[in-house]
Subunit: 339 residues, 2 copies
DNA sequence: CTGAAAGCGCTAACAA
DNA sequence: TTGTTAGCGCTTTCAG
């Protein structure tokens, strides 16, 4: 009825379980007579033997799993990253266990706890905040992990992030070339590295280009969400600051800006241009199609997985961090300012 | 260094491992002296003991995991369903292992194989095709599973699906009420239950309402994708069939229609109305905002998980299937036909 | 090159 | 109520 075990195979092949084990494992196959090995393998196949990684894991204390800690799978930024991760994990014989934290530190702690009890060999973390005691603690405990997309401050862990500064630079220059001089920034939450890096880069490029660097042109949100983006833009508008273009902290925030445009009868791009960040799916179908900075989602995931696998193989390896290049995708939400 | 084991706890509490086990497991706690239990629990806490489900699983042959077989996590239909699933799984002490099949039967077989070797206790399958030998075979082998969203034909497995027929009926009636009489249908692939059920319901309602039931008004796609939807609509247009509205098989297909509208300078909704199916995220931001049929994603997932858990608990339980009600979401892509 | 024996961490009879 | 014993399926010394 139930699956054949190694013992069943061994018996059927007329060898000891240990021999069967050696024959079946490519790594130890050399230790066994080639003929015997062949025979065992054939029998295993005939019986439809499937090794039980759980049992193996118990012995070797390697579960063959890694945890993927995501804020919310429903955010279109993450599925492509997850795909990238799995495309690397899978051929390496690993699988990923996905958990959602909903940006709730309590939930995050519980979920990571859960992953650890499931004996994951490492963590890919997409929920890093600047101050992140939990990550610091895990790092101290020797949990191997790599950050994707964002990274905490002051913890020496490997990370794969987009080159946020370069991306924002691209965005601001694009708007400047169109002729905008008063550009606003609806910045992401300042407790995330992406939020602060992008805001900092925004100020730097604006100054570089000699544009209006009035600090009132920057509105900071508390969440990477549509609602939060809308609130951020409303604040700017209500303060009466003048601007003709917006660099949004990410696409979701840009979508929030769209909501406010609608509310307040602002035409985009005629009255105000806006540019997003991430290039999530279906942006080309928006009204207007959103100009944005594209990040290599898939590659970010793949690199992160590779890094993690490396660290698992050699936990002493120093924290290497990678920044991936971005590109500007011009669509319909940016145009020269009204004369 | 490494995590404390049950034995460590037992020793520290001055009891045998078996007693510690009983004390720590709520189900068997009754078998042990209340004081002893309390003591063991306290010690466990102090030591930061985390039970090892792998070891437990080896003994009990219950892994506490179920497989989620998804075509592609990148399709926005699925993440909310997955969230629904996990919200039920988690409190029950189960976790979900997600795999993507990319609609490739070979990959699907391999992935399910992989899940089985990881000892999943059941499968939630979102990849059902009408003819699905693999599912038939798994069912015969006694693998417990439940279908979400679509179901295979002729296999007696539990399923949770939207009420496709009712949804299409809603869609057609909405268009008819607006005054449309020649309505086209860009149908999903005929190898999926959703594709055929929706197409069948379309014909039924059209006839019921006495509208033009020319079969040439139905174009069938080979994939649930934007590209495939675009191709489907192009075929209709190239054939010169006259219509003023389209019921798209799903939202992705509707997006494909948008692409063709753009290509051929068709104004939506002035020239042609279109209505989608699923209500995936951000549809309200499209140009024009897409009218669609909303399905209860989250609830579909949650129900599926509940059903699966039930079946795991009692594998003899008969296959109960559930159809969930849908609702019409009117946005800007539908309007009365041009006079 | 192969077999014997032990054990990963936990639970479930069985006995006391 | 608790301890003893055995074993889930596998790998890995250690002998032979």
């Amino acid at each position: 009825m139930s699956s054949p075990t190694l013992r069943d195979v061994a018996e059927a092949a007329g060898v000891h379980a240990a021999t069967a084990s050696r024959a079946l494992n490519p790594a130890t196959r050399g230790l066994v007579n080639a003929d015997t090995a062949r025979r065992v393998i054939k029998v295993a196949e005939q019986l439809g033997y499937r090794p039980n990684p759980i049992a193996r894991g118990l012995k070797t204390s390697k579960s063959g799993t890694v945890g993927l800690v995501i804020p919310d799978l429903t955010n279109p930024l993450f599925p492509p990253i997850v795909r990238g991760i799995e495309n690397v994990l899978e051929p390496a014989g690993y699988s990923g266990l996905i958990v959602n934290t909903d940006n709730d530190p309590g939930r995050e702690r519980a979920q990571i706890e859960h992953l650890r009890s499931r004996q994951v060999e490492g963590l890919i973390v997409a929920t890093a905040r600047m101050e992140h005691p939990l990550l610091t603690q895990l790092h101290r405990e020797g949990v191997v992990m790599v950050m994707v997309n964002r990274r905490p401050e002051g913890v020496d862990v490997p990370s794969i992030t987009p080159d946020d500064a370069a991306g924002v630079d691209l965005a601001v220059r694009h708007l400047a070339e169109l002729g905008h001089t008063r550009i606003a920034h609806v910045a992401g939450p300042p407790n995330t590295s992406t939020g602060v890096t992008r805001a900092r880069a925004f100020r730097a490029t604006v100054r570089d280009l000699g544009l209006d660097d009035n600090p009132a042109l920057i509105s900071t949100t508390s969440q990477w969400s549509e609602a939060s983006g809308a609130a951020g833009l409303r604040r700017l508008l209500d303060d009466g600051v003048e601007f003709t273009a917006i660099v949004a902290g990410n696409d979701l925030i840009a979508l929030g800006c769209y909501d406010v445009f609608y509310e307040r009868d602002i035409r985009c791009p005629q009255d105000v241009s806006v540019i997003g960040f991430n290039d999530m799916p279906f942006l080309d179908k928006l009204r207007p199609p959103l100009t944005t900075i594209a990040i290599p989602h898939h590659q970010i995931g793949a690199e992160a997985a590779r890094l993690l696998l490396d660290s698992i193989a050699d936990p002493t390896r120093p924290a290497r961090s990678v920044m991936l290049p971005l590109s500007l995708v011009v669509r319909g939400s940016t145009a020269p300012p009204a004369a």
